[in-house]
């Protein structure tokens, strides 16, 4: 395969959006971690210097990925997957603990986080399994295997403990749905989430009343001809109410106080102003500071390197998980909206690219990539702007962290490599 052909066939729009995100991300890392403006950009004693080094390293990873045979990824997917499972298990014995989570191998010059690697390999393995000619998505047993592929790494990561990364794997269910996994699983899941949150907020009585009203409305406004299967319908209502009844029990008895506090903050459950203030200062401190920083940016922002809260280091972990708050403070509404728009266009482009694949494997892997990146983006920004409870996941391409950047890059460019071959060796 000639390099010239590769240059022609690679999806440059995606590459451009990727570079843009990495660039904007680094600018903000520079602003949040700048201590002494006299140091050079590549000074490795600074965090922005380290990050710049990893950006350069990412470039080599990209070149490497693009020159590997496409079939390599597909053929060896199961091996990679198993290897990463081994790495995850190995953590229990040889892991390095940072900030309370045993998630890293100490490789001397940098810390390897196998859960990042496993995101790539699990996406590959899932695509490989689903695209196999013998796999039938309608088959319950095969469904179970597919789900297991997703859940195994997630379960291994959970006790590190790293619930945030663990949660990421669930996004791969999108791939299953795309490939014909029954949609009502998703509907049931969504209904359960909505019931859970609304029960906490309003109580079972109101949920019951609301369900009653919905039932009445359905029967009043349905077409004369339409028949509603009475038994399943009433069963659904009964199950919903039972579920709602169980919510409080689970909340009070299964959850720990810190979890309850997060929900209390997120859903404004705590009515006692004093206790709320207390929660805000402990569990909600990061979110509170981050919201305030974003709010203080206003429409135009305070300007590059002018963010007072960024400078004063008010938002904890600002260069990693809370990097978006720095965009909010220094670049204002204009900056945040621009980043959201770039991300959105980036995802839409990736969906477009995935859909144009002739190879099932490529498309499914593409969906895996999109799901993983999208869930990171959704949870991270949702948390930083105070829409979601605090769950520690980085913002792809943006957040400080060499391991993260390298694996997100790997994840993306394996897909671009597959895409570049779509016309050549379809099936």
């Amino acid at each position: 395969m000639s390099g010239r052909g590769l240059v022609r066939r690679i999806d440059w729009l995606t590459v451009f959006l990727y570079s843009l995100l990495v660039f904007i991300g680094w600018i903000n890392i520079y602003s949040t971690t700048l201590t002494d403006p006299d140091l050079s950009l590549f000074d490795f004693s600074t965090l922005y210097g380290k990050q710049l080094f990893f950006i350069v390293l990412s470039f080599f990873v990209i070149v490497m990925v693009l020159f590997v045979e496409t079939s390599f990824f597909e053929r060896f997917a199961p091996i990679f997957y198993l290897a990463s499972l081994v790495l995850l298990i190995g953590l229990f014995a040889f892991g390095k603990t940072i900030a309370g989570a045993t998630s890293w191998y100490d490789l001397g010059f940098f810390n390897l986080q196998p859960s990042e690697l496993a995101k790539v390999t699990t996406a590959l393995a899932l695509a490989k399994y689903l695209s196999d000619i013998q796999t039938d998505i309608k088959n319950r047993k095969h469904q179970l295997y597919a789900v297991l592929i997703i859940l195994l790494p997630a379960l291994l990561i959970l006790p590190q403990p790293d619930p945030g990364s663990s949660l990421i794997y669930f996004s791969l269910f999108f791939v299953l749905f795309r490939e014909g996994f029954p949609l009502y699983y998703l509907v049931i899941l969504l209904v359960a989430i909505v019931l859970f949150a609304t029960t906490l907020m309003f109580g079972t009585v109101w949920i019951g009343i609301a369900l009653g009203i919905i039932t009445v409305l359905i029967f009043v406004f349905k077409k004369k001809s339409a028949k509603i299967p009475l038994l399943p319908f009433s069963a659904a209502i009964v199950v919903s109410i039972l579920f709602s009844l169980s919510v409080n029990f689970v909340f009070e008895n299964v959850f720990e106080q810190r979890h309850r506090d997060r929900f209390a903050l997120w859903l404004s459950l705590e009515k006692d102003e004093k206790k709320l203030e207390e929660i805000r200062k402990t569990i909600g401190y990061n979110t509170y500071q981050s919201e305030k920083a974003i709010e203080s940016g206003g429409f135009f922002g305070k300007g590059f390197l002018e963010g007072t809260r960024t400078k004063g280091d008010f938002v904890p972990e600002q260069h990693t998980d809370y990097i978006f708050s720095s965009v909010g403070e220094e670049w204002g509404f204009l900056g945040t909206t621009l980043v959201i728009v770039i991300f959105s266009v980036f995802f839409l482009r990736l969906i477009h690219v995935a859909e144009r694949q002739k190879s099932d494997f490529s498309r499914m892997y593409g969906y895996g990539v999109i799901s993983i990146l999208l869930i990171h983006y959704f949870i991270n920004i949702g948390m930083v702007i105070g829409l979601l409870p605090t769950i520690g996941v980085p913002l792809p391409f943006f957040s400080y962290g060499g391991s993260g950047l390298l694996f997100f890059t790997l994840l993306l460019f394996v897909f671009l490599k597959l895409d570049s071959n779509r016309l050549r060796d379809g099936l």
């Binding site: 999108f174 749905f177 795309r178 949609l183 919201e291 974003i294 709010e295 203080s296 940016g297 206003g298 429409f299 002018e306 007072t308 809260r309 400078k311 004063g312 280091d313 008010f314 904890p316 909010g328 204002g332 509404f333 945040t336 909206t337 959201i340 728009v341 991300f343 959105s344 995802f347 839409l348 969906i351 859909e355 969906y367 999109i370 999208l374 983006y377 959704f378 920004i381 949702g382 702007i385 105070g386 829409l387």
Partner: protein
């Protein structure tokens, strides 16, 4: 359809995020949040508050250092509360309550924990302070008085409260602000402007350099010193004379409208409202609802003016041309309104203007008053003309002084009587009391003094004021240097002034003459009725006196009003005479008179209605 599911999720997430961001950055955003920003700390540099001098350049109000113990709640580390309280000399419960209040105000901004320590306490505390994180000592300057008088004019300053903080963004908790008197009126002049230095802080509240390289920092602007029109010596002397008496005195320089003295009795030492005892003392003064020391009688009391008002009726009658100075009325030891006789103490007989004034004949002025409105076809019309003349003397409305408080007094017109009795349900007999300054007319001592100044000037006055110059170069409001003309022509004043001079020569104040100074004056004895516990009763008359001196080229016009001082020449007349002598001659020649005023009090008089015993009013014995 599945193809679009993920795309729509992406778009939905995008809109949700942008929606939330517009709420935060567009809707919740407020542009002046520099003060709110925990990353920016403002350090204030307070200029000294301007000094206040009297008209002769004598210092009345200066400054003294004081030290506030401040707290920034969120910086407080666990401490030995008991030891700290002992050190500060406060109760533990107080300490906890104050800490809570401070935290509610702001965990980030400083609040006052213990205000206004003395220099000695400060010295003791200073070295130990650093053991207590989150607390520090802020130096402030407090007022220092070189006089124990004029509390009502000078006013006081006190710490800004929640209201001030809300209404005026300039103030920060713990700062001081003028509350009453000159301190309030000239707050911005005296205060100056504090300098502000912005410091960039980090999350641990450490300074990490100036904010925006100090571009927004400002330098303090000094408060200006001001000269006020009071004569410190006269003011102090007047307050000594007021010992044990309730009432108000105002002295004005007629040719400028400058207020020379403004005395309210009882009063208090202005130094009482400074320092740590301030709040205790204030409460004591404020809750004394019987003698009301904080109620400035010189400018807020509105008694009927009594007989001094007769001079104005005489002037109006002359201006209207209804009488000549020689016009005579007969006094039958009183006069008749319909079939009712109203009394007069002048001794009876035929009165012209001169003796009408110096003997204070009620019958003469009742007749004069009848002629004023009798000139017009209806009483209404006459009343309107009369009201217009009276108001031109600054009566029945706010004078527009530069003191932050005041009362309008009352000149009752047609509208007033219509409201009180019903439209046209009143007749001339209802209003006849106004002829002698009783009934519905009311005036503050300040208005009486101003009216006297207008007579002294023969027809005009300047708006009374207390500011003499700001920052050493004048700069006072031009409205205080514009003469205001009355509606009475100059030539009509001479006969009235002659009558007033004769008050001292032959009349009601002939015992109060000052050697070598020719005075014109008028006594007033004001009947007064009060309601105590729902029962209407008459108390001893108020003693009122107005005077100006010298008769030619007057230097001082004065009004004295003494509650329950009995007849005009008694307390009010004595005090007026002494003050005029003090001002013009600088010394007192009639020490017996002075001694009487310094010794006598009216406390027994004020105690009467509250004693529960039957009592006599208007007792002639001293």
């Amino acid at each position: 359809m599945k193809k679009f599911l993920l795309s729509s999720i992406v778009v939905l997430i995008g809109f949700t995020f942008i929606g939330r961001l517009s709420y935060l950055q567009l809707f919740s955003f407020s542009p002046d949040q520099t003060l709110e920003d925990p990353a920016i700390k403002a350090i204030y540099d307070y200029p000294e508050r301007g000094y206040i001098y009297d008209r002769n350049g004598e210092l009345m109000v200066g400054n003294q250092p004081a030290y506030d113990v401040m707290v920034i709640p969120r910086e407080v580390k666990p401490l030995d509360t008991l030891e700290f309280c002992k050190l500060l000399g406060v109760e533990k419960t107080d300490f906890i309550a104050k800490m809570r209040k401070a935290r509610i105000y702001s965990p980030r901004l400083p609040s006052v924990l213990v205000p206004q320590l003395s220099k000695e306490d400060y010295a003791r505390l200073q070295e130990k302070m650093r053991h207590f994180e989150g607390f520090y000592i802020q130096k402030r300057s407090l007022r220092y008085y070189t006089t124990n008088s004029a509390a009502n004019v000078l006013g006081y300053i006190s710490e800004v409260n929640e209201n001030d903080l809300r209404n005026n963004p300039y103030y920060v908790a713990g700062e001081l602000k003028g509350r009453t008197g000159i301190e309030k009126q000239y707050e911005e002049v005296l205060r100056g402007r504090k300098g502000i230095q912005y410091i960039q802080k980090d999350r641990f509240n450490r300074d990490i350099g100036p904010y925006k390289s100090g571009k927004l920092d400002t330098l303090p602007k000094q408060g200006k010193e001001i000269l006020i029109t009071l004569d410190k010596k006269l003011q102090e002397y007047g307050e000594r004379l007021m010992h044990g008496k309730r009432g108000g005195i105002v002295a004005i320089e007629p040719k400028s409208g400058e207020i020379l003295a403004m005395i309210s009795g009882p009063t208090y030492d202005p130094a009482k409202l400074v320092g740590r005892e301030r709040s205790k003392n204030y409460t004591k003064l404020h809750y004394d609802t019987i003698s009301k020391p904080t109620w400035d009688r010189s400018i807020l009391a509105e008694p009927s003016p009594g007989s001094p008002f007769k001079t104005l009726n005489a002037l109006v009658a002359l201006q209207e041309g209804v009488i000549e100075p020689s016009t005579k009325f007969t006094c039958y030891n009183g006069f008749y309104v319909g079939n009712t006789k109203r009394g007069c103490h002048c001794g009876g007989g035929v009165r012209d203007m001169n003796s009408g004034i110096f003997q204070s004949c009620n019958a003469y002025f009742a007749g004069t008053f009848r002629k004023i409105y009798g000139k017009y076809t209806t009483t209404d019309e006459g009343m309107d003309v009369w009201e217009k003349h009276m108001k031109s003397f600054g009566l029945g409305g706010y004078l527009g002084t530069d003191l932050p408080t005041g009362r309008p007094g009352r000149i009752p017109g047609k509208a007033y009587y219509d409201k009180a009795y019903g439209d046209n349900r009143w007749s001339s007999s209802f209003i006849i009391s106004n002829s002698i300054g009783q009934g519905e007319v009311a005036a503050t001592p300040l208005q009486l003094a101003n009216m006297t100044a207008a007579i002294a000037n023969r027809g005009y006055f300047y708006t009374p004021h207390v500011i003499k110059s700001i920052g050493g170069n004048g700069g006072i409001d031009p409205r205080f240097t514009e003469p205001r003309y009355t509606t009475i022509d100059r030539q009509h004043f001479e006969p009235v002034v002659k009558g007033m001079a004769n008050v001292y020569k032959y009349g009601t104040a002939r015992w109060l003459r000052i050697p070598d100074v020719e005075i014109a004056g008028k006594t007033g004895t004001v009947e007064n009725f009060v309601r105590i516990n729902g029962e209407r009763m008459q108390l001893t008359d108020h003693s009122v006196f107005v005077a100006f001196a010298p008769v030619e080229n007057p230097k001082i016009a004065i009004a004295v009003y003494i509650e329950n001082g009995y007849y005009g020449a008694r307390y009010a007349g004595h005090i007026a005479s002494l003050l005029i002598e003090k001002y013009i001659k600088g010394e007192i020649t009639r020490t017996d008179l002075e001694k009487r005023m310094l010794d006598k009090t009216l406390e027994h008089e004020y105690a009467k209605p509250y004693s529960g015993e039957p009592f006599k009013i208007n007792e002639y014995v001293w």
